[in-house]
Symmetry: C2
Subunit: 515 residues, 2 copies
């Protein structure tokens, strides 16, 4: 016997739609509707009709095989045969992460396609992958931050079974899995949550639309929706930890922040994307946050770029400060037009450091990456840093493929708005910015795996491998104590000493010595 | 030589207007404009013209003798002759507060009028007054929460000299002064701050209009405006501490909350109005918060009312819990439609307890108070509680004068909207709710001091005096340790034991014994 349940305090009547049957559901006093459907088996499709309307997907659907607008499919999570019994989990203090996007990591753009490249990652020497969001979004091509079916690995990637095969394959190879999840907003297409209940609030706004209601009327069940989603990924998909998108936009002014509940409920670790330089997130239970200051200071030191948020960074002096203090001191931020941040007093293991990530590449007009000569210097600093290093897929061989912004909204007006918005953002003319909706924009983002053997790329890959091997072999490099990091800046030359290892990086000539 | 300065990043040109002169001001790179006006003396009036427009008041004007729309007057704070050298300050742990509204506390409705009743307070035995906001608001009649001239004691109350005389008179009598200040919104009339700079943000909303910009672009100077305002009251007006209005609506998502800066900058104590049951406010530096749970549980136990927020309260069982735990446990709040609060683990001295206050009286449709028989029971519990007790002006003799909501907006459309909004709020017809704009509504709120000698009132006053004397004489009553409070509920009878004192309050018969 299967019970279908959905929280939907808004409609006055809810029916389960199974095949061509409509089954009246019963409401409890908290707004949960339920009905027993004795013959509903795993693999069957269903939906919910609100006040007699067309069927809507289950917000907690484990599989949406026909996309965000279609029916939900019953998933029996116990049916999957896991082979990762010997997997012992991720230790953040010795981890090196590798951020990848399922759709462009392999030619097939699927979980199974990604499995085909895992041995490369093992040989490279990273310890865990960090996967861009896989939750069902509208269309087949998306970075993942437009998700609306938050419990359903995307059908185009291979659905829940595909994701489980991927996680299992990582674990049997000794690789951990961090999953990127988005709780600060819902995607702009295919989000029917507002018809069900008060998932959104207009008390706050986010750059991506209405904020999620974590602290207003009816927020208890919205909090549960997010907390149980986190638990779901760890329990049903064996994910080791989560990367929470844009935590400063997870606004909760109530006495118990939803992040705190989330951290208490999840046995895995939590990494927050945050540029707030706010240690409060550690108090709320995050194990680590991304370190944008490290990236931005490094990027400015490497490229001299000062547009946008780079205006706040001095390059080498700031990079030196970050390496020894975690992030920048509280100071005026011209980009933000206000004083920003608070002193960091924790361990380097609470900060994830990177020379590139999906945002720092993809939020450039053309999605262009650092050059191999830049990456040589950057990798030496990232992989000898006191932080948790993270690479962005393909950077290890200096991939020339860009990672531009891409979408495949079925809502054509929305698609057009995204295309135009992207052009306006960079104040560039027609043709200067890849059209996110154009399938060619997505196609060009796919990694060219043959490139890693070519001259100029193969050497860089070897450089990354040797740096990772050095980090593995040298406990002092994995030490998170920032007061043990010795740094010196002379002109364009940054010298970093960490135990027996000295890195001399000349940002003028882009020469770097590690010894 | 006097330098006039104003922060006004928005206009392209600012002139000081002094008499019929317009003096060009010079802008620095932070948006501050300044000009030397050699002949500007204390007592002279001035304003600022933005981009050639009509003169606007100085946001930091110490005196607005012609109201919120008129010119600012130069104040020489050093000229006042203080006589309170021997005043040693307020100790919150032994304080009993007395909340009063200057306009209705005395017949004259002024600071000097209030001085005439201070001896009554000394005889009563309270230790400090808590004054509803005095900052300049539109018109002559207002609770004070519509202030826009945040540095100027209201001209109708007697302006800055009047306020200083009042504070000085309190101090020489051994009474402390707590001032209510509003940093969560600005009043709806006469607020020209938005013409000057980004004082508001639409990222958040408050029930009273746009929120104050404490964490967005340009917020540094807005934070300073608030922090320096707090400092100003303590330094220039000798106020002992501040009561911060609606702190949950002081929204700051940045890494250093403005409340923290405020607490660091002010030598006095800070009491926050908060119904959030959130101990974080103590971490941010507040010394105490109001205890609405105590009030609401007591009110329900006394009156049986369950409308509005009272629906969350069970009466006696909740009151017993609050007396021994500070506030209610984290639990579902039907009124809020969500789970609310967090466990309190601090001292009773961090919570202000009251049977009435301006809000709890005034936010009733007619502003009606508890009856003397209710107050007999309530006073026994408030004044033997482990909290910081607070009385509302006139309750000590069971004043029959109501404290309805009143305003005197010069903007007639706004006035009409306030009148209509008030009627709608209580869903009562014409004449059922006093019109806030009607001078008669204000007039009826004035305390009738002759009443305190009348039968039924004089006895209550004596009861309050004796309870206050008992609290003074009994250290155990002033002990803030909640684990020492013994409480028992049997039917309608609440028994509270505090050291040698036992209070037996029968909520059925409204009988109370203290012995």
């Amino acid at each position: 016997m299967t019970e279908l349940r959905v929280w939907a305090p808004r409609p006055g009547r809810v029916e389960a739609v199974v095949g061509d049957r409509r089954l009246a559901m019963t409401r409890d006093d908290r707004g949960w509707w339920s009905v027993d459907v004795p013959d509903l088996v795993p693999g069957a499709d269903y939906g919910f009709s609100l006040d007699g309307g067309p069927p809507r997907p289950d917000p907690r659907a484990g599989h949406l095989p026909h996309g965000v607008h279609g029916p939900s499919r019953m998933v029996d999570h116990d049916a999957f045969v896991w082979t990762d019994d010997e997997w012992s989990g991720v230790d953040l203090s010795s981890a090196v992460l590798y951020e990848l996007h399922i759709g462009t990591f392999s030619e097939a753009g699927t979980f199974d396609g990604a499995i085909g490249h895992l041995d490369h990652l093992v040989e490279l020497g990273v310890t865990a992958v960090e996967v861009l969001p896989v939750a069902e979004f509208a269309g087949d091509r998306n970075w993942g931050y437009d998700g609306v079916g938050l419990y359903a690995p995307h059908h185009a990637y291979g659905g829940p079974d595909g994701f489980k095969r991927f996680v299992d394959a990582c674990h049997v190879r000794g690789l951990g899995v961090v999953l990127d999840v988005v709780y600060n907003h819902f995607g702009p297409e295919g989000c029917y949550l507002g018809e069900l209940g008060p998932y959104h609030t207009d008390f706050f706004s986010t750059p991506w639309g209405a904020a999620v209601n974590f602290d207003r009327v009816g927020s208890d069940e919205v909090r549960r929706f997010a907390v149980e989603n986190a638990v779901h990924w760890l329990r049903d998909h064996h994910v080791d930890g989560l990367r929470l998108d844009a935590v400063p936009n997870i606004v909760d002014l109530s006495a118990v922040h939803v992040l705190e509940e989330l951290a208490e409920a999840t046995p895995g670790f939590l990494i927050g994307e945050s540029d707030a330089n706010d240690p409060r997130y550690f108090d709320l239970g995050l194990d680590a946050t991304w370190n944008d200051d490290f990236h931005h200071a490094l990027h400015v030191a490497l490229t001299g770029e000062r547009h946008g948020y780079y205006v706040d960074y001095e390059g080498l002096p700031d990079l030196a400060h970050v390496l020894t203090n975690g992030w920048l001191p509280r100071r005026h931020s011209p980009f933000r037009g206000r004083t920003h941040g608070r002193e960091f007093t924790g361990s380097g293991h609470q900060l994830v450091a990177y020379a590139q990530n999906h945002d720092q590449v993809g939020n450039r007009a053309r999605g262009d990456r650092l050059s191999p000569s830049h990456l040589r210097v950057a990798a030496a600093l990232v992989l000898t840093s006191p932080f948790v290093p993270m690479l962005f897929m393909g950077e290890e061989w200096g991939a020339s493929t860009p990672f531009p912004y891409f979408t495949s909204h079925g809502d054509l007006a929305l698609g057009h708005a995204v295309t135009e918005g992207r052009r306006r953002e960079f104040e560039l003319g027609d043709g200067q910015v890849p059209d996110p909706q154009d399938p060619a924009t997505y196609a060009q983002a796919k990694l060219d795996w043959s490139e890693r053997h070519r001259p100029g790329h193969a050497e860089l890959l070897e450089w990354y491998r040797s740096l990772l091997a050095l980090r593995r072999a040298t406990p002092e490099l994995r030490d998170g104590r920032l007061d043990l990091v010795e740094v010196e800046v002379r002109g364009d030359v940054l010298t970093v000493r960490r135990g027996p290892v000295t890195v001399v990086a000349d940002f003028g000539s882009l020469d770097v010595q590690v010894g």
